[in-house]
Amino acid sequence: MSGTVQMEWHQTPGNQVDSHYCPSCLENMPSAEAKLKKNRCANCFDCPCCMHTLSTRATNIPAPLPDDPSKTTMKKAYYLACGFCRWTSRDVGMADKSVASGGWQEPDNPHTQRINKLIEYYQQLAQREKLERDRKKLARRRPYMPLAFSQHTIHVVEKYGLGTRLQRQRPGAPITSLAGLSLKEGEDQKEINIEPAQALDEVEPLPEDCYTRPINLPEVTSLRQRLLQPDFQPAGASQLHPKHKHLLIKRSLRCRKCEHNLSKPEFNPTSIKFKIQLVAVSYIPEVRIMSIPNLRFQKECQVLLTLTNPVENITHVTLVGCEEGDPEDINSTAKVMVPTKELVLAGKDAAADYDELAEPQDFQDDPDVVAFRKSNKIGFFIKVVPQREEDGDVTVSFKIRHDFRNLAAPIRPSEEGDAPTEAIWLTHHVELSLGPIIA
């Protein structure tokens, strides 16, 4: 926030992926590895039926000893089970494994080979087109080294990938999904030919009893279950195989205008703290509703609100009602009269609870306006006159204007000596929902 003082409500700040982690085993993964594993965890599985995490359970089964087939000994067998819907891996016919983890495989997609071949072909095509473009661009400048230069640009693309701002796709621009693919340096450019897909005239006919066979409802998969496995999209519940769990990401936010880091979480998945956390709540006074009397249609009621000061210096707050035709005032259903005087909030003092000898600061509050004052919080009244008799909540809105001192900014060496930091006055729109009218 040192560059711009601006509220970023309506614009989403720039999102960047910070780290990948698995939500159940909390394993951290670098982005490259995550991309290789298709953003899935290697150890954890999701229930194909209810999408919860599967847990591994062990049973003892008698198994014949390898030396002496006539004697049996108890061996541990592991199977996957869901604690929520009680699905087990035995339901789809997956055999119990003898190792606790790592034994479970996802079934292979029968079309993998064809898809891989197609991807290779298009990678090569993209590569070739890129070379052509570079060659055309540089034909005038460096006619003797076009290949080397384009190898360099490939390197640049691969090195930075889609992470930088330059490569980030703007919303609305055509998606270039091949932008991240590029041949590794040194690979021979052999010709890859693919067979075009063949259209068939004859389609397998529907079975005879398609219309007459009664449906076994528990066996039919729901759309959600089906589409979670896009490879197979099984129609029967006995073909639902568990899939590896999706990874989640932690993201960091940047301001769009000055590219300053706003929010940067910790790298460790078990930690919920932030390395950098610049949130508006820690700078703007907070308005909270303390008590609401019975609201009556077109009768004036007094609502008690509190204002809390999150910063350590004294803040001055002025409340102003919304004017007619205010573009931000769309939801209010009641007229509101806010106190006209300026409210002074004491700074937040972390040691206030423990310091009993501290003198209470004398602010000379008007008892009609200020109900109470407690360290950095005051309670004040507003008058509300509901204007609409409809069902639904009474909503009021007003503007709050307060002074903000940017203490995080570097102190400029000033010639006048101790000049206090300049105060910037910020205005925000506040909307309160006060609940229904009681007839």
Binding site: C50, F84, C85, R86, W87, T88, R90, P218, A237
Partner: protein, 191 residues
């Protein structure tokens, strides 16, 4: 009608472990090897309840044979209907069961609610917080789960909780007094 109201004593078979803090009202028969935790409530209002063996009824579970909604308790000519509960069922904490017929090996999870017209066969699992108040027979090995009471069929029935039952039958008498069984004394012999 007045005959079964007078039959207040519960028939608790030998080998059942029923804590004194549980509330058992009316004509209730409890089979051997059944464990009834404290604060469980088994209320036979509109007819007797017969509970089989090997059942596990946990705290704050409510098994109630109540009158149908539109019939007052004093109406004449109302036949008392018997509620039958089979063997190896588990009634988890806080569940409510008014189902008149429950088979074997069922699990009624925490805070589930079974209505009066449901009939559970065997191997059914009614998930936590699921309310089942339809008028139907739930097929075998059905699992009811989720906030929308989705259903699926599982291939094997839930295992009987023998380990848990044995453990409880040993430990509960150490900390609670037991109700009197039909044959034998109030507290079973401790190991």
């Amino acid at each position: 009608k007045s005959q079964y109201l007078q039959k207040m004593a519960a028939n608790i078979a030998a080998g059942a472990v029923v804590c004194v803090e549980s509330e058992i009202r009316g004509d209730v028969t409890i089979g051997p090897r059944t464990v009834v935790h404290p604060k469980a409530r088994i209320i036979a209002e509109a007819g007797p309840i017969i509970i089989g063996e090997g059942n596990l009824i946990e705290e704050q579970a409510l098994i109630i044979n109540s009158y149908p909604e539109n019939i007052m308790p004093d109406t004449e000519g109302v036949e008392p209907k018997t509620m039958t509960i089979g063997i190896n069922n588990v009634f988890e904490v806080g569940c409510v069961s008014q189902a008149l017929k429950i088979g074997d090996n069922n699990v009624i999870e925490s805070k589930a609610d079974l209505g009066k017209n449901v009939i559970l066969t065997s191997g059914c699992i009614v998930g936590a917080c699921c309310q089942v108040n339809t008028c139907e027979v739930i097929p075998e090995n059905t699992v009811i789960y989720g906030s929308n009471c989705m259903r699926r069929v599982q291939t094997e029935r839930p295992q009987p909780q023998t380990l848990q039952l044995d453990f409880l039958m040993k430990i509960l008498p150490n900390y609670h007094h037991m109700k009197k069984t039909v044959k034998g004394t109030s507290t079973p012999v401790r190991n």
